[in-house]
Amino acid sequence: MRAAGASRSRTVCAGLAVIVGLVACGPPPPDAATLLIRSSDHMLHLKGFHFQMQITGFTGPGEPVQSAQGDAHPPDLHARVNLKEGTILLEVEVVFAADRVYLKSFTGGWQQLTDAQVGEFFDARTLFDPQTGLFAAMRDTTSPTRGNSEKIAEHDTYPVAGQVSAARMHQLLTLIRDQGTYQATYWIESPGSNLWRARLTGDLFDASTAATITFDFSNHDHPVSVTPPPLG
């Protein structure tokens, strides 16, 4: 009798432990590929977000952009971009609105740019373009693997690492070399699908020297409305 009672108690305890464990852990997070697709869709349907982009490592003389930050509701965005001019950094302001590109340098007012001129600066429209931008690249990331939960900006996220083809990255930023593959890591909130950080690494701007592009996102779904600025 005593042995049967002990066995029953053990079973109850084990069952309780499993229940408590399940309640404490919550449902298991989705697999890496699902996380990427959900987050990609989610980010493309937000009313807006704030972003910061930082390029570190080798960038070379042909790559003028050092960093950018601003608010976006793709394809429209308003950003301050730091450009390298020799040994110094220069800040310019760019607006993409109503399919037009505007620039404000450190003197004078706003000017509208032609496509040729945009190409010589930095076409930030491509960063979050629904077909060719970062969120589209998330879906095209191959061999994704999910890591352990990490806090990014006080939010619980899962890092998902994978490979992105260089040709795909070249569409994202035309100054990136289009040969080989690059390493991509995305920090995706779960539950919820907010993308908080994305990091792209590899020999991005030179065949033998590494560089990293890091995107940080915040103010998810905060409405962003970008209108063409007054010229002059």
Partner: protein
């Protein structure tokens, strides 16, 4: 009963070693007071701030001054309570930690925090070392030692921009300006540790006027914030100017009210009824503002329009800095000889004002013409004259203020002199920085940069545009230097109207 003087219990060799070690720490901290002025552009670049957002550099300079000002009034009292060497050691550690934060800063906020801590640590060293020197040597032997300590601080301040410029231009880069402080501070701490650990220093229970310090620091911090033009395209002052400035005034009014009532005030505010005291304090602040404008804007002008690197900018500024100690000696001698503070102080401020007026006429070719066939340029002479004038006013203005306070308040008076100079530097620089940049943006509001693309005349248009931008930068600097000259002339009038003549020599 005569209390045996502590210094009698120390061997003279020990005294010299203690003074050398603490003096070296003071020198290290004073080097860093203005060290950043020749390293600002690379510092900004390393925290990813563009060269066309120079307003963001303002807190790097004002942060140090604020930290310095916040601790200076209580550092003397703290050294009484905890011991000179203990306070010195703690503040040296704080200074080293501030240096570490500055050198490793990935962001502007850490850079500014590091500078504030550096200022707080460095500012407290001045009264601690002066008080230690006074402890170690009896009254009759004290003057040369106090003079040497003060000279160390002044020499450090003069050499700081040159030191910063040379390190920044070297392959080490600007961060080594701050990295180098850490092993030096550690070495000094190690040298002083046996004395600190022994803890044999005399300590006194002193009442510290914390509320006074809090009110004064809050007032200054609010005023600095009010004057900080974070967006000079829109406004020459801060966005919160209209609430921060009145609040700062309220803090200052409460400070004066509190100082009237407290039994241990930081400063005897009744002294302000004496026109010689008030006049010398204000004149000192105006001279401080003039010095700060020169310290910051000459290196930036050298970088921005004369395309000099950090060491070139430092050497250009050195011509002005060289004039300051020479002027200081000359001013003291002249005041004694002519037996007039007001005349010599006014002369110094007028010379400095004339120097700034000359600088306000500079253009791209101003650094080339030689002075009367000598191996110096006209610009060298103008810079030296400006520094000489700023140096000449130091001794008469300081002496007039110290004469105006009683014998018992002389220490507090000396601290007040330094504080007023720093307040002038802080407020004057904050004001000038915002208005200068606002003027630049106003002047270039319609100057559109040419864009490349299919533009066949881009190269020519860009060259013309660059010339126009340089012209606008010169206009901004001309305005700043002219405004500074006017302030210095007002200071000269103030000194001439208020400073009392030299008293007859007498021993007390």
């Amino acid at each position: 009963m005569i209390t045996p003087f502590r210094s009698l219990r120390r061997r003279s060799a020990n005294r010299s070693v203690l003074l050398a070690l603490t003096g070296a720490g003071l020198f290290l901290a004073s080097l860093d007071a203005y060290v950043v002025v020749t390293a600002l552009l690379p510092m900004l670049k390393s925290v990813n701030i563009a060269v066309n957002r120079p307003e963001q550099a303002t807190p790097i300079i004002t942060g140090f001054l604020l930290g310095y000002l916040a601790v200076m009034p209580i550092a003397g009292g703290l050294s009484d309570r905890f011991g000179r060497l203990r306070l010195f050691g703690a503040c040296l550690a704080l200074f080293a930690f501030g240096s570490f934060l500055t050198a490793t800063a990935p962001s502007l906020s850490q850079l500014v925090t590091g500078r504030v801590l550096q200022g707080a640590g460095g500012g407290a060293l001045v009264p601690a070392v002066l008080a230690l020197a006074a402890d170690l040597y009896p009254a009759g032997d004290r003057s040369p030692v106090l003079g040497a300590v003060s000279a160390l601080q002044e020499i450090g301040s003069v050499l700081g921009p040159l030191w910063g410029g040379l390190i920044t231009a070297s392959s080490f880069g600007w961060t080594w300006i701050f990295w180098i402080n850490i092993p030096f501070a550690a070495l000094l701490f190690w040298g002083l540790w046996p004395e600190i650990r022994a803890g044999g220093e005399p300590r006194r229970e002193t009442r510290l006027d914390w509320l006074g310090v809090l009110l004064a620091t809050a007032g200054l911090a609010l005023l600095t914030l009010a004057l900080y033009a974070a967006n000079p395209e829109q406004s020459p002052v801060g966005e919160g100017f209209f609430w921060q400035a009145p609040l700062a005034l309220v803090c200052f009014a409460l400070f004066v009210w509190h100082e009237h009532r407290t039994s241990h005030p930081l400063i005897n505010v009744r002294r302000f009824r004496d026109s010689s005291f008030t006049g010398s304090a204000l004149t000192n602040a105006i001279a401080g503002a003039g010095l700060m404008v020169a310290l910051v804007y000459i290196p930036v002008l050298a970088n921005a329009v004369f395309s000099m690197n950090a060491s070139g900018a430092a050497l250009l500024l050195f011509r002005l800095m060289l004039g300051i100690p020479i002027g200081a000696l000359l001013g003291g001698w002249l005041a004694q000889r002519l037996r007039s503070y007001r005349l010599v102080a006014a002369l110094g401020l007028v010379l400095a004002g004339i120097g700034f007026l000359m600088l306000s006429g500079w253009n791209e070719g101003s650094l080339k013409p030689h002075l009367l066939g000598l191996p110096f340029t006209v610009a060298d002479g103008e810079l030296f004259l400006t520094g000489l004038g700023l140096g000449i006013e130091i001794a008469p203005v300081s002496a007039a203020l110290l004469d105006a306070v009683g014998e018992a308040e002389r220490g507090a008076g000396a601290s007040f002199l330094i504080i007023m100079r720093l307040v002038g530097m802080l407020v004057g620089f904050s004001l000038v920085a915002g208005f200068g940049l606002w003027e630049f943006h106003r002047a270039t509001a319609h100057l559109l940069p040419p864009l490349p693309g299919l533009n066949p005349n881009f190269a020519t248009q860009f060259a013309i545009y660059t010339l126009k931008v340089k012209g606008a930068i010169f206009d901004e600097y001309h305005l700043i230097f002219r405004a500074t000259a006017i302030a210095l002339f007002i200071g000269a009038l103030l000194a001439a109207a208020t400073l009392r003549p030299l008293p007859r020599p007498r021993w007390q």
